[in-house]
Symmetry: C2
Subunit: 342 residues, 2 copies
């Protein structure tokens, strides 16, 4: 029998909970024959949702009961302390015990990171886990980390992010030697803050394919595979991009629906606009990896629909297949040895 | 005789120097009858350029010779020390002596900021000048600062940026009580870094119309007039936006030129695409204010064309008319008094 990849889904998390996670699970099972999914959450509600989808006896799909739900605005500390039987926590527990190879949740990022870190622990040599996602670029996509798990990152943390991002891209994108850049500000302006300068020095001495400083526009130019930055900066870059994309899309829509003539133009432009929309569809990029943990956890956007959530399941599956945490661990050990002998 | 606003132009700065600055000056003079412009730079070259434009005896346009040019990649320290007769430095000197009411340069940002600060000095109570520009939003535009003059900004600096941005918007946009937001990362993630938290506390106690934390996408949503952030973060947000805009534009272009049918669609879509392009034309937003100085200096994008550079001249003119430095100075004094009595 071929290998099966078991992924636990926080069925109650996110803005939409079961109404998104259940159809996403069914989609993913259709898409990948090697998947087994565990819906973690309120058994009665999950059964009801499955019944609604006529999917009660779907092969490779089972339910694991959890009595609590972490709210989207719940503080990480409160969730950790009071929600020990939450769908989020139990899904991660299943990774810890080996019953699942990965967990996917659309629940609140802070609580997910805190819980994953508490239950799974970080890899030896990793101080802080980071959040990493792919962003579409002119030439495919660029992985960016950290996207908000860490603020006030020190040089050593940025160095660890570089290493983790590089391993993720090697594993997921099958790139032998990913180009890693450190996000900085223009050559014109006063260059870099202290942490970035220090991280640049660390990275120049390491065996990663470090290409030096990059700027914000390089994320979209796509000449770099991994862009490393502090979580505050990465989160602002991501959110700013989301805002601009939304505005562009709204303005195009408004422009094309102005009058009969523009509506005709829209009709004729449909193939172009559709392929444009498809190319940058954020749902196709949904699924951020929590890197640096002793286990695989993927964060879906809270507002994800079932197509987007299924994409996050696909990302978790890829991470399982290529065993990302183990790869990061090995790379860390090898760098550590090199540093000590240097 | 009506009042005349005198603006010194660094005629040699930027990627294109005279070939952009001269036609931009001629455009601006046509557009604004109340302007007098001083072209600062190599007299022979400027005369040649004016001859080429058949504009040697243009009213309200004169030449002020300067023998040196600051290179685009020159370090601020070197420029300050060795380029005392540069077109950039001399243009700023004219502001200092009162011969000009403002200076505009497309030269390198670091050198411009360092020179402006050295020659004009900061306003009493301002530790660090900041770079501020308007960015198009769903509802008009949003002013963002700092865009790269300062990294590792402390809470007090962010507070000063808020005050300066608010005064600029009051003056330039005629808004009585601009909404000021502090850029932070999502509610979901671990909230804010130390400086942002401390700045939030400062801003909550001040008489600005402070609306609290905003996120990257709020810049484009446009529910806020002034977005305050550290220069590293602001620069990344700006460059990331530029990169995304470039990618979107390239992809739309590629989509519409794919085949005969899509080219036809482009033709029919022309009015929509043109108005879309016009709305987000970065040239219409060219011109960043260096705030916090005892004088008005506007930075044009290095690669600006003459339409863009003329826009930067327009921004300098508005700042002169509304006397932005004086307004910031008064506001600082009033807040200082309030703080002392509190």
């Amino acid at each position: 029998m071929a290998e099966q990849y078991r992924i636990a889904l926080d069925a109650m998390g996110g803005d939409h909970g079961l109404s998104v996670v259940v159809p996403a699970a069914l989609n993913a099972l259709q898409q990948y024959q090697d998947l087994a999914l565990i819906l973690v959450g309120d058994e009665t509600q999950i059964n009801a949702a499955l019944t609604q989808h006529k999917a009660l006896s779907t092969p490779n799909l089972r339910i694991h009961h959890a009595s609590q739900v972490v709210q989207m605005d719940e503080s990480p500390a409160v969730a950790l302390k009071n929600k020990k039987d939450s769908s989020m926590r139990v899904a991660i527990n299943l990774v810890k015990t080996g019953e699942a190879n990965a967990a996917v949740s659309a629940g609140n990022t802070g609580a997910l990171m805190a819980t994953a870190r508490f239950v799974l622990k970080t890899l030896p040599g990793i101080d802080r886990p980071a959040i990493c996602t792919a962003i579409p670029s002119m030439q495919g996509h660029t992985h960016v980390l950290d996207l908000g798990a860490n603020v006030d990152s020190e040089a050593e943390h940025l160095y660890q992010f570089a290493l983790m991002g590089s391993e993720l891209v090697k594993a997921i994108d099958n790139k032998a030697n990913p180009k890693v850049g450190l996000l900085n500000i223009g050559q014109e302006a006063i260059k870099g803050n202290e942490q970035v300068k220090a991280a640049n020095a660390l990275l120049q001495g390491c065996p990663l394919n470090y290409i030096g400083y990059v700027e914000g526009d390089d994320i979209y130019q796509g000449d770099v595979d991994v862009v490393v930055c502090d979580g505050f900066v990465g989160n602002v870059a991501l959110k700013t991009s989301e805002g601009l994309a939304k505005m562009v899309s709204a303005q195009l829509k408004a422009g094309y629906s102005a009058n009969l003539f523009t509506k005709l133009a829209a009709l004729i432009s449909m193939p172009v606009l559709k392929s444009f929309r498809r190319k940058f569809d954020p749902r196709r990029y949904n699924g951020a990896s929590l890197l640096g943990l002793q286990g695989i956890v993927v964060k879906s956007h809270g507002g994800a629909d079932s197509l987007a959530f299924a994409n996050a399941i696909g990302i978790a599956r890829s991470a399982v297949i290529s065993n990302v945490p183990q790869r990061i661990h090995k790379q860390l050990e090898s760098l550590h040895t090199q540093r000590q002998s240097a």
